[in-house]
Amino acid sequence: MTKLAPVLSAHWDEKDSFTLEAYKRHGGYKASEKALAMDPDAVIQLVKDSGLRGRGGAGFPTGMKWGFIPQGDNKDHYLVVNADESEPGTCKDTPLLMANPHVLIEGCIIACHAIRAKHAFIYIRGEVTHVVRRVNQAIADAYAAGILGNGIDVVLHIGAGAYICGEETALLDSLEGFRGQPRLRPPFPAIAGLYARPTVVNNVESIASVPAIVMNGAEWYQSMGTEKSKGTTLYSLSGHVVNPGQFEAPLGITLREILELAGGVRKGHKLKFWTPGGSSTPLFTDEHLDVPLDYEGVAAAGSMLGTKALQIFDETTCVVRAVLRWTEFYKHESCGKCTPCREGTWWLVQILRDLEAGKGTEADLTKLLDLCDNIMGRSFCALGDGATSPITSSIKYFRDEYIAHLTNGGCPFDPVASTLFVGAGA
């Protein structure tokens, strides 16, 4: 049985955990003090040695990303933190920032020092007013205490409701004051990012993981996790479970273990399908309960670790309805720049709506897969690719359920049965 290992979440249960005082009580800003006294390259090496990989979905080694920033180029460098948490099912950065914004600020200081940047921007989604307050106050308190403003500045930038801005180059365009649309790569942000300057874009959890690594060393971090997926991470369990919530554990824990901690699937029901890392990662079923939830394990089983957003659906849930809803989301959020994604997601929705209403034919399933094939890999960013994941994986595992909609002339499920308040008279 894998043991939980709270590092990021270690002090979230203290009432004032978000204050500078509480953060300092637990050694806060000692790591940045230590890092600022180190050679920047040594900090990069330390993060490389720790094995930390990006927690925003792609899993790219964080230290290596920092190492791509050209040095001695006499250009401004920037750190941009991606706090635009919007991937369906993903709910880790938001509670982290609500409970402990200072750990992100300290991580920013260390990362800025490492990549020789004077400016960090935190791009946070706009639909979380209270989290914005907490981060803004933490930045103000850090300035007042002289922690910021001595060569490193942090600016909070607040989004306005566009999922696509979680994609790093769209985020940069948005931060520059444009419509948030992805850029063609290369050049990568490390060469030409914000204002065409060398830029590191990292997820909140990645940057927030850095202070503990600096304090405790690469070896300590390496001692947790699996061979290629080191450290601890936040797994976010939601859906039809007895106790949903955040579980910080070493990489490689399984859903079976997390479900046991959470009291299992809700009473009287059984697991039907789940996402390992948000809606853009191919669905898993009860066959995958023992897949190690690390980058390699999930990939070997045909999906992606993504944001570790474990959305659990029991047998009362219609998979066609679930997939249609996600597809409507991708259609709505497609920025419109690339034709395969803009047009493709629109057609996916039309066909899925017909299928859900029992109006399609079996040939529509082939057409869906064909469309997915034509969307996959054909756009600037991965939004369109993500849109195909729930469709192709659900047809793979639940083809019969799609057919049942056709033979039944509509959805055979009762939507009330899947709600939380079924039987509560609501």
């Binding site: 910080e248 809606s279 996600w326």
Partner: protein
Amino acid sequence: MAFSPEDLKIMESIIGRYPRPRSAIMPLLHFVQSKAGYVTNEGIELIAKQLELEAAEVTAVSTFYTQYKPSAIGEYHVGVCTNTLCAVMGGDAIFASLKDHLGIENDGVTEDGKVSLEHIECNAACDYAPVVMANWEFYDNQTVESAKELVDSMRAGNPKPPTRGPNKLVTWKEASAVLAGLNDGLAHEGVQAGQPTLLGLKLSKEGK
């Protein structure tokens, strides 16, 4: 409405946050909403003037993002998450009942101007599903009944406080000022975390 000299000063300070002025478009649009309630033509013209852009360039940005509203909305803007997980767990039922209860459709505003309604996408609180947002504050673990009570309390002028947020729900305009990056001094209010956020930590302390 006219923007006061003081407003213009705030707008200048927002521009001053960035190495390049154009980056300030988004907070300036939030600021315009904090004054006018939505993105007015006057606000667009003013931002364009301050950033030395064409009004069309500012409009192009404004219309890309769903949080910028092209017309007046409610003092309390209610968003019901109907992305898959929340929808399945009750979000669809909550949204349908609120439309019926308020007598408005998606993007509608009640006649008294108190409440507007929108179905929203995933708001990063899935472990608190079904989730309702009001002026982008969290109302966790909602039911059809609790959501109706919430909008009733808004129409009565005494809105219920958020689950994870300040002690009192601020208005749409006040929330927009926060999203423009202005500090309203309420960061210390409310819980640091809800129960689901703390579940793993609690179990770990029990030796799990």
